[in-house]
Symmetry: C2
Subunit: 642 residues, 2 copies
């Protein structure tokens, strides 16, 4: 059964977990990142992103701006776009705010002024490489930046009703339509993103041509001869040295998308592409395309995904590698990739509501995505390792990407604003709906309005508690479908105190409640929050003989701040881990978990014949998302099991 | 107590383990590699090494040879040098052989003809880059190739008494002496090797200047400002693209050698350098230099060495990384590096006889060095992983170096001839001597002649058996010092049937027997060959919660050929592993070991809450050196312990 994303305006978080995160995004992250983008935060990596757009606007109006005035990545514009999108969702989530709107409007004015007459807009090409537009789709990120700005435009329009950026981006999309539907009809983007953005733009404007262009890009991708190989011939310039060695897997262009079975290449590109594919499949009813999406979903979630919902096993190409290769210490698991995995999961849900899509979306959000941001909202992880050892992580040449602490900002700053926009729009991921049904895909405290006029208020301490209570306002017939996570071994659901028989109510991971709802009706879901050990398929060499701990959706880790040295620890899996009382003062409020285990005594030599003496001990664990907030420590998600 | 290397001519192996290996080297490896070097083996990677020298000789005599006629690595000459050295030791080990000598003589004639008037000789510079000699010491390997050819010359002279190559290399060394003692006095080799070679040349010729040049190179290394940084300024050419990023650790030149405490950079370069340092320390009595050697020895063997005696934790720079970073699957552990570790150990023994040097030399030889060569002598590992998974090893971009099977030859073919020369000259590593004492550093079946006229015949099945019997021929006073390996928990030693009290006889890992020996005297050593579990320091993240198995000096591994899937296996360390009967038909004759353990049943999902069902099973293990001789399989040295 298909469904649609709700409008961000239909959801309002309360003061519980997600609401507090959104408040943090409004009060700290959005202003901090605005400062970064405007180069007014001292000590942070230079961004220059807004200045690039200002320079482009000046050049566009005839001023003399030297090419070398551009600074930063070729996709620097996208940082601004993601920030606008985050700001837009923040205006919905935490209320209209003139000061913030005026900041956004200021950037929108600059951006609009930088748009060429034909609708093309990109500060890199305007300032630094005029005349080279559209000639290096593989590397140059024009369609990627445009896609992000389209998403920003749609969000800002949704938040404020202001059309200026939306109109700018429609003109950009029209320009791209002309280029790729009429002139360069084989051209496809090196970094997918425009596809999912065009689908959003099509919905925001009602203009079918944008969806058609999205479908066109998807249909063209991977057709022989490979566009990127052809494009490069005789071009005479590349963005990055050595890019002459063209790996078509990196851009998911080795095969036509309908023939792709394995998730390969750059992980963010992959999931952005798959999201666009799933969206086009939904709109067109293209079963072949949906089948490819299902195969790629299985490739990721059954063979190439970390227990934290991280994806991308190596920093070499920020990429997937091969089945079951999931090293914990030299992982990539980019924050953006898990955000993209949420997009993909959400679009698969909109195609067909199956619990596994929601389960993975939840896994990615509550673990890798949230771990991407320091609890105070000022520092970010790009890479999310599942094991760090100070002195090795971030130090050894093999571990340069796998930092043991979050740095302030990155030269390539894709992740921080991505987390911000994801958190600010969490309601959109929490619910979907169609003519008959409201789906609760995530458990997020707050109120959702349905298009039918009913509203549901969700009260929960999730992810720290397993009681989820929905109270209906208004009345009318509707199906309410709530996900029963696969991790909840026992679950109880009742409506107005009457137990629902889950054996009959649940289909594909969702419990369906169809009623003529009355004002004040209550739906209560109780999930099994007993901490539990989790085991990886033994094919995962890095995890064989080990166990991880989960409580509900949260993956836990053992960190040095609680345990001293972590590497000598092993868990006793014969004793179930125990939840300790919720500790409001710890890491913004978490439920610590205690496992029983052993600590190996320090060794006398690098290799000994004597087994290290094992002393029984308690192992204190915290949610993975909260790691690296207390200084430099060893950390492990997977512990040897004995 | 200092000692010297014996001459290779003083030792003759019998038909046991080492003797059979030497026979294989003579009958298969040396002829096969001769074919490779002369490009007459079909299907193997092109070498062109001999042809390069032929071209250099032609050019040197005035013929027109185009630069592009050179083919291969800049250090291609060194493959020829190592082959000559292997051939030379083979002539000692398995007997004079006119056909082989004539092959060597043919190459020596070419090489001599390629020597410039000033003594300089190198086919790359002669053919491809004349005029650039000595201008890129960091990359250009002239001193490295020269060093290897000096070693070859000394060995061939030792084997045959023929001086032609020795004279050529004396002229080369004289040329280098002039260049580096008088003109470019700050210049040092990018790849150490010439230092240890000059020490050999000095001993072979009695010419002190060569030892002085070795000392000079060692003293100059790492002095500020860094020579390689200075050298590069304005040179305008590099051998390898991107080499502009100069990592001084890579060449062990960040600090003066006496201040170096950590083994860093390219592992082969490191141990070749340390060997030269230890040799100069021995000759000069330089305690500061010896102290640095001890610190570097500890850095390697206590914090940066695999249980197999492999060194170099990453393929990035073929290098050491940081303390306790010893990944099993993305390891480098180059065969040549373990050979170099044997050199270093041997030179440390010559400085001071301590058992740990012999223990490590033995560990490196019987595990990583031997694993470098297929049992049939025709294929070689450059990289020696401790864990392979077909489909990942050699396939994933992170595992490109870590092949699951030995290829035939390499474009960079340093390892195969290095194994050959090491095996052919094993007697040199097995014994050292001084005025009073003969030291038995390794247990190798065969007869050693002492300089005093006594000889000892060693009979043993080592490494597959722990009984070692020495029979004396001749008579006279002498101390016989035999290493008691640290791995042997129980050891018994008797002379003519009378037990020796090891508590008083053993000092620093050697049992000293001082007597007036009579013809027919017998020394019998019995070592503890009970298979045992070995545990790594928990600081080694890759091995925490795991155990390996050793029997005597041999590290064992579990391989798919015996066990099917290996990743689901864990060992029960409460039950000691058992040696099975020696199986002459298995892998050239080995003692298989059986451990008790468990096999995890196939998993239903990538991550499950249910622990995988563990079925008790026997785990069959083979010596690590013999792995990958039965097709493509999973293999693990370290198994999860429960």
């Amino acid at each position: 059964m298909k469904s649609d994303r709700i409008s961000a305006r239909q959801f309002q978080a309360d003061g519980s977990f997600a609401g507090r995160l959104q408040k943090l995004v409004r009060e700290v992250v959005v202003p901090y990142q605005y400062g970064i983008l405007n180069d007014s935060v001292s000590g942070a990596e230079k961004s220059h992103a807004v200045e690039n757009i200002r320079l482009a606007a000046r050049k566009n109006t005839g001023e003399d701006v030297p090419p070398e005035a551009f600074y930063g990545m070729i996709f620097q514009d996208s940082d601004v776009a993601k920030w606008i999108e985050a700001a837009a969702y923040t205006l919905i989530a935490t209320g209209r705010d003139e000061a913030l709107e005026s900041e956004v409007d200021g950037i929108v004015d600059l951006y609009a002024a930088s748009q060429h007459e034909d609708g093309y807009v990109n500060s890199y090409f305007t300032v630094k490489a005029p005349g080279r537009e559209w000639t290096n789709l593989r590397e140059a990120h024009e369609l990627y930046c445009g896609g992000h700005m389209i998403e920003a435009a749609a969000a800002y329009y949704e938040a404020t009703g202001k059309r200026k950026l939306l109109d700018v981006m429609c003109r950009f999309a029209d320009c791209a339509y002309d280029e790729f539907m009429h002139r360069n009809t084989r051209g496809v983007p090196g970094h997918p993103e425009i596809e999912l953005a065009l689908m959003k733009l099509s919905r925001a404007t009602g203009e079918k041509r944008y969806a058609a262009l999205a479908k066109h890009f998807i249909d063209q991708r991977g057709q022989a001869p490979n566009y990127f190989v052809e494009e490069e011939k005789g071009r005479g310039w590349n963005v990055w040295q050595g890019s002459a060695e063209l790996d078509t897997d990196y851009t998911q262009s080795t095969l036509p998308v309908r023939e792709q079975k394995d998730a390969v290449g750059h992980a963010v590109r992959a999931v952005y592409l798959y999201t666009g594919m799933a969206d086009v499949a939904k709109e067109t009813g293209d079963e072949t395309l949906l089948s490819a999406c299902r195969a790629l979903w299985e490739s990721i979630t059954r063979r190439r995904m970390y227990v934290t919902g991280g994806i991308g096993s190596t920093g070499i190409g920020e990429a997937f590698t091969v089945d079951y290769h999931l090293p914990n210490d030299t992982v990539y698991a980019e924050t953006c990739a898990s955000i993209g995995l949420m997009f993909f999961a959400k679009k698969m849900l909109e195609n067909e509501h199956r619990g596994e899509y929601g389960d993975v979306m939840e896994r990615a959000f509550y673990n890798t995505v949230l771990a991407g941001m320091q609890l105070d909202g000022t520092k970010f992880f790009y890479v999310n390792p599942l094991e760090v050892v100070p002195g090795i992580s971030g130090v050894a040449v093999t571990h340069r990407d796998d930092l043991p602490e979050r740095p302030g900002w990155y030269a390539c700053a894709c992740c921080p604003p991505n987390v911000a926009r994801c958190v600010a729009s969490l309601g959109v991921y929490a619910y979907s709906e169609n003519e008959t049904t409201l789906f609760a895909d995530l458990f997020v405290g707050g109120t959702v309005e349905t298009k039918k006029g009913l509203s549901l208020c969700c009260e929960t301490q999730f992810p720290h508690g397993g009681a989820v209570k929905y109270t209906v306002s208004g009345a009318g017939e509707m199906t309410f479908a709530v996900r029963i996570p696969a991790w909840s071994k026992k679950a109880a659901l009742n409506v107005n105190g009457e137990a629902v028989d889950l054996a009959t109510a649940v289909k594909d991971g969702y419990a369906y409640l169809t009623r003529d709802w009355r004002d004040g009706d209550k739906v209560e879901l109780s999930l099994d929050m007993a901490p539990r050990f989790v085991y990886a398929d033994p094919k995962v060499a890095a995890d064989s003989g080990k166990a991880a701990v989960q409580m509900g959706a949260l993956v836990y880790c053992a960190e040095g701040a609680d345990n001293g040295e972590v590497l000598p620890l092993s868990v006793d899996t014969s004793v179930p881990p125990q939840a300790l009382p919720f500790d409001a003062a710890l890491l913004g409020g978490v439920v610590p978990v205690e496992a029983r285990g052993f600590r190996a005594e320090p060794a006398a030599a690098l290799y000994s014949d004597e087994p290290p003496k094992q002393t029984p001990c308690a192992i204190r664990m915290i949610p993975y998302y909260a790691w690296a907030n207390r200084g430099l420590h060893e950390m492990r998600v997977w512990l040897p099991a004995r």
